[in-house]
């Protein structure tokens, strides 16, 4: 039990003394996951919306596939990305393997099914009067889409949060396509795993606690953004 308390104390010290290695990994984790989730939102929200509101060939199959892909192992995605980005792979000439951008792409593949599925779910469960009311008030297609997203904003916020949590805590992609290179591709999750395997339990725990703090911060931020902003004349 003692080593746990020692670990917690060391974790507190590393965080409050702003240990440069820990902060470096934390910042990299945040920007990589934010970029991946941001791209996933750009692609996934319109697709989730289309799946909920439009009937097209293969719609059912896309819904089932995106739901199944939510649980895909991160190691599998990492291996697939490695196959694509390694020198002899189809996107090898891009030379992004062992760079943060390879991790961004891998995490994008993790985040996308979550954003698509949860956005689809949130919009599909909206009251049928939302679309009818918007249409009858003269809203064009874009405004109606914006209205659906606005009305389903809690669900979309939850999708974003879930995707971010999955990305920031994943290990498989960052380890395989990033290589856990200190100062270049090391994220909090890979650093925590490495420190733990070296027997540096306290540093590993510090990074784990920092991951938890980041998740908590993002949760609060998204909850705040999802809150109503009264506007009146």
């Amino acid at each position: 039990m003692n080593y746990i308390w020692e670990g917690l104390r060391e974790a507190g010290r590393l965080i409050f003394t702003l240990d440069p290695d820990v902060l470096d990994s934390a910042w990299r984790s945040v920007w990589i996951s934010s970029a991946a989730v941001g791209l996933a939102m750009l692609l996934g929200i319109p697709l989730g919306l289309a799946l909920a509101r439009k009937a097209f060939l293969g719609r059912r199959a896309v819904i089932v596939f995106s739901r199944a892909a939510m649980a895909v192992p991160t190691v599998f995605v990492g291996v697939v990305c490695y196959a694509i980005f390694n020198r002899s792979g189809p996107l090898g000439p891009l030379e992004i393997l062992m760079t943060p951008w390879a991790i961004v792409v891998g995490e994008l593949l993790l985040a996308l099914p979550i954003i698509i599925s949860l956005t689809h779910n949130a919009v599909a469960s909206l009251d049928v009067r939302v679309g009818e009311t918007a249409w009858t008030l003269g809203a064009g297609r874009l405004r109606r889409c914006a209205t659906y997203i606005s009305e389903a904003r809690s669900g979309v916020a939850l999708a974003t949060l879930t995707a971010f949590a999955r990305c920031v805590t994943e290990l498989g992609v960052a380890m395989i396509v990033g290589g856990n290179l200190p100062g270049r591709t090391q994220t909090l999750a890979t650093a925590a795993a490495q420190e733990n395997s070296k027997g540096e339990f306290a540093r590993g725990l510090a990074m784990g606690i920092l991951l938890l703090c980041i998740s908590l911060g993002v949760t609060c931020l998204i909850a705040r953004l999802g809150r109503e902003r009264p506007t009146s004349g």
Partner: protein, 201 residues
């Protein structure tokens, strides 16, 4: 101008709305009276363009964007009373929006609720907000599904006043009873369960 003849809406093999004949000129107010389940709401939905699967003739000489339908239990978008009344005006890119919003909120007696979140409104206040939103867009045809339900006497009088003093907009509203005979209504249509047919009075 609205011209309906032998209209019948069928869902899963069951007729849910039948209207033998109905005509309404621009600027007139009509009431469709019928019991629950007689197809009044479906009739309005057909006129609004929300129900497109029907047999018979239904000619509405207004573009879909010039018709507004208000549900019996209206849906208010998340936000405030103000943002809801503003919604249709923003959608249509209308000018002098703020002035129009103020005017319709005042006419419907909800100007004091301007900044209130719609979650904090009573049933009657929600209905008045939806009506202000519908009237604010200056549609040529306004279809109101039981606008007087859930309204107290003062609220009903306010809505009646708005219906009476609306110059060039055609209005059709439904009601389960004929207690609105004081309104200057051009057409009064009795609508009954489809199996029994429907007739214009």
């Amino acid at each position: 101008m609205i011209d309906v003849e032998d209209l019948c809406v069928t869902k899963e093999g069951n007729p849910i709305c039948a209207v033998s004949q109905f005509r309404l000129a621009s600027g007139q107010v009509a009431i469709a009276i019928g019991k629950n389940g007689s197809g009044k709401s479906t009739f309005l939905r057909v006129l609004a363009g929300l129900e497109t699967s029907f047999s018979g003739r239904c000619k509405v000489h207004f573009d879909c964007r010039e018709r507004v339908f208000v549900h019996q239990t209206p849906y208010l978008f998340r936000g405030t009373v103000w943002s809801n009344v503003m919604y249709g005006l923003r959608a249509s890119g209308a000018e002098r929006r703020e002035e129009t919003v103020h005017m319709w909120m005042a006419r419907l007696g909800i100007d004091h609720l301007s900044g209130r979140n719609v979650d904090q409104l009573s049933g009657g206040e929600r209905k008045r907000t939806a009506l202000a939103r519908a009237f604010a867009v200056r549609a040529k045809l306004i279809l109101l599904d039981e606008p007087f339900s859930e309204m107290d006497d003062a609220g009903a009088a306010t809505i009646a006043e708005v219906l009476c003093h609306n110059d060039d907009t055609s209005i059709i509203f439904t009601s389960p009873s004929d207690s609105y005979h004081k309104l200057p209504i051009a057409r009064e249509m009795r609508i009954s369960a489809p199996s029994m047919g429907a007739a214009e009075a």
